[in-house]
């Protein structure tokens, strides 16, 4: 194992890196844009910053993509990494980069190398964030830093359980501890790297308190290592009072559990479940996400696109999504009020549920051991886990308002009051036909598809002009 200032690295990758002092020198160049500054400004202005996901395999196409998106007005741009790199299949990523880069679902930053990474940053005026999904992102972080990129997504829970089959939590937590520790070192010398925590998890029907519990535990771990800027992301579930409440809870809970030494910025990931396919309906959901972000006081919103249901979006669709989200988050919809009592009630219960989940974990001995054993016992859990290291006994359900509730909370250590409320909210009116578990799950997962068919009459006769859904091509 090689090493970069405490970060244990693959020796081959480490060998290609510039020296630490070169990395520092590049980062401290006066014109280097820092994501943290964008977040501070957005927070002060009360207007969420907007950021697209974006990453393609080839270097020139990636430069072109960033340049095509910049005029649409993003506050931050992404370097979304391909799946092979995420899973440390660096050789596969490199081969595809050479032979058929268009087959990659993201930018293989390690294969391209930090020099090209610097070219990406220099191609645009706004700062970049590396978004990936690597259970162990240490090598990627080293290249990110060397490329002068000032924001890095991920954490030991949220970038493990949704993104791999069998990486032990002990491994991912320690890998991310090293990343956080290096951020701590940098922060101590005035270079603030934004660390975004992926509360989106498996994205589909994630109860707000599950999302927040995970990011707060990761946040506690990061703060201990000296991380000074945390973006805490929450995935829009689609019921506005619940989503607004969840975003507002990020701030109260962060104050409670992370103290005031860390800057914390709530981030909304626009609806992360199965996306509607009709452009008008998809655009409404994208606008709605922007509005939700603003109402919830999010500092940043990651936009979706009208091609979400089809595949990785082209630049035009992404620019459209970006603008639409920005409009939803702008002053134009200032007149919109929501039922604040309802949002406040949701917030009360979200905060209570999070407390009931994480306080026992924080109370016992070593944090990582405690997280690990809680997952084994099901006292921490996520729905639809990709990893075998979460039990997925938690079964989410939408209630009649569309809010995401616990159909089954498994072994989460909830109080009687919380359990009773959840059961009450999900109680069907008498005479309702009982549904099988698949019927219920499918209806909840396809929530917006069903709304789409109900709201756009005769949707069956709709045929999108150029891209057609994969299911249509069968």
């Amino acid at each position: 194992m090689a090493e970069l200032n405490g970060l244990e690295l693959d020796p081959q990758i480490a060998a290609d890196l510039p020296g630490w002092s070169d990395i520092l020198a590049y980062l401290t160049e006066p014109r280097r844009p820092f994501v943290v500054n964008v977040l501070r400004a957005a927070d002060a202005a009360g207007r969420p910053a907007v950021q697209p996901r974006c990453g393609v395999g080839g270097h020139e196409p990636m430069l072109a993509l960033l340049r095509a998106l910049e005029p649409a007005g993003p506050d931050i741009l992404s370097v979304t990494i391909d799946s092979h790199t995420r899973l440390r299949n660096f050789a596969t990523a490199r081969d595809l980069m050479r032979d058929s880069p268009a087959d990659l679902n993201g930018y293989p930053l390690i294969a391209h190398g930090w020099q090209r990474g610097r070219e990406l940053g220099e191609a645009v005026a706004v700062p970049l964030e590396v978004r990936h999904g690597s259970p162990d992102g240490r090598d990627l972080f080293a290249v990110t830093l060397a490329a002068g990129i000032t924001s890095f997504e991920g954490g030991g829970i949220g970038y493990n359980l949704p993104y791999s089959k069998n990486v032990p939590l002990a491994h991912s937590l320690r890998a991310w501890q090293q990343v956080d520790a290096l951020c701590g070192t940098l922060a101590a010398s005035g270079l603030v790297i934004d660390r975004e925590l992926f509360g989106t998890l498996t994205a589909v029907l994630v109860p707000p308190s599950v999302s927040l519990a995970m990011t707060l535990l990761e946040g506690v771990a990061a703060a201990r290592e000296g991380v000074s800027c945390l973006s805490i992301a929450y995935p829009q579930g689609g019921e506005v009072h619940q989503d607004v409440a969840a975003l507002r809870s990020v701030r109260t809970l962060a104050r409670r559990y992370l103290g005031t030494a860390v800057e914390v910025y709530p981030v909304l990931h626009e609806f992360m479940g199965v996306f509607p396919a009709t452009p008008e309906f998809a655009a409404l959901l994208i606008l709605h996400g922007g509005l939700t972000a603003r109402l919830g006081g999010a500092t940043k919103v990651i936009n979706k696109t009208v091609q979400e249901a089809y595949g990785i979006p082209d630049a035009e669709a992404n620019a459209h999504g970006l603008r639409t989200a920005a409009l939803g988050a702008s002053h134009l919809l200032d007149f919109v009020r929501i039922d604040e009592d309802r949002a406040a009630e949701e917030q009360h219960w979200i905060e209570r549920e999070v407390a009931e989940i994480i306080e026992p974990v924080l109370a016992t001995g070593d944090l990582f051991d405690s997280i690990d054993s809680a997952f084994r016992a099901g006292r921490l859990d996520i729905p639809f886990s990709a990893s075998i290291h979460a039990r997925s006994q938690v079964i989410p359900r939408r209630d009649r308002t569309g809010a995401v509730r616990y159909g089954d909370s498994g072994d989460l250590p909830f109080s009687g009051a919380v359990l009773r409320r959840q059961a009450d909210l999900l109680r069907e009116p008498p005479g309702t036909r009982p549904r099988t578990r698949i019927e219920a799950a499918t209806a909840d997962i396809h929530y917006f598809l069903d709304k789409e068919s109900a709201s756009l009459p005769d949707r069956s006769r709709y045929a999108p002009s150029s891209p057609s859904p994969d299911r249509g091509s069968e």
């Binding site: 092979h84 899973l87 087959d103 791999s164 089959k165 589909v204 595949g311 990709a386 091509s473 069968e474």
Partner: protein, 150 residues
């Protein structure tokens, strides 16, 4: 014996392709097949093709190997199929479903190159899966019967 085996005797191998961690459809398909009486050997997400081959070796009664792939990497993740087949492995029907290439503008070429690797069936909706498995099953029964009678 000419009768079809009872539903409880039906078994499939299921999993998600090597680079792909999309789990939701995998969870749902497992439930769906179980509800239809299948025994599902679920290898979960991020499963290399060689693991599918190992499972198929372990469960020779498997009616099919079902591979989900959502992240656009279908072709790369299934690239070893000709090699494994050449080695006499993975001989049951290989059914692939999901989102089969990168990007929002799909072409027939995306599908063709998967067929060229030897994939037997491409589905984009898991709703069609049970029907396909039943058809394959009936076909096999007919062939077995023909072999026995012929």
């Amino acid at each position: 014996m000419n009768t079809l085996p009872g539903p409880s005797e039906r078994l499939v191998v299921l999993g998600v392709a090597e680079s792909d961690s999309h789990a939701v459809a995998n969870h749902l398909i497992t439930m769906q097949l179980q509800d239809h009486g299948f025994t599902v050997i679920n290898l979960g997400v991020c499963t290399p093709l060689s693991d599918f081959a190992d499972a198929a070796d372990r469960y020779p009664q498997a009616e099919a190997v079902l591979i989900g792939t959502l992240n656009g990497h279908a072709h790369q993740d299934l690239k070893a199929l000709p090699e494994l087949r050449a080695a006499g492995r993975l001989n049951c029907p290989v059914v692939v479903g999901g989102n089969l290439s990168v990007g929002s503008h799909k072409s027939d070429a995306d599908r063709q190159r998967l067929y060229d690797l030897g994939v037997d069936h491409l589905l984009s909706d898991a709703g069609e899966l049970v029907l396909l498995l039943d058809q394959l099953h009936a076909l096999r029964a007919t062939m077995v019967a023909e072999l026995q009678n012929g």
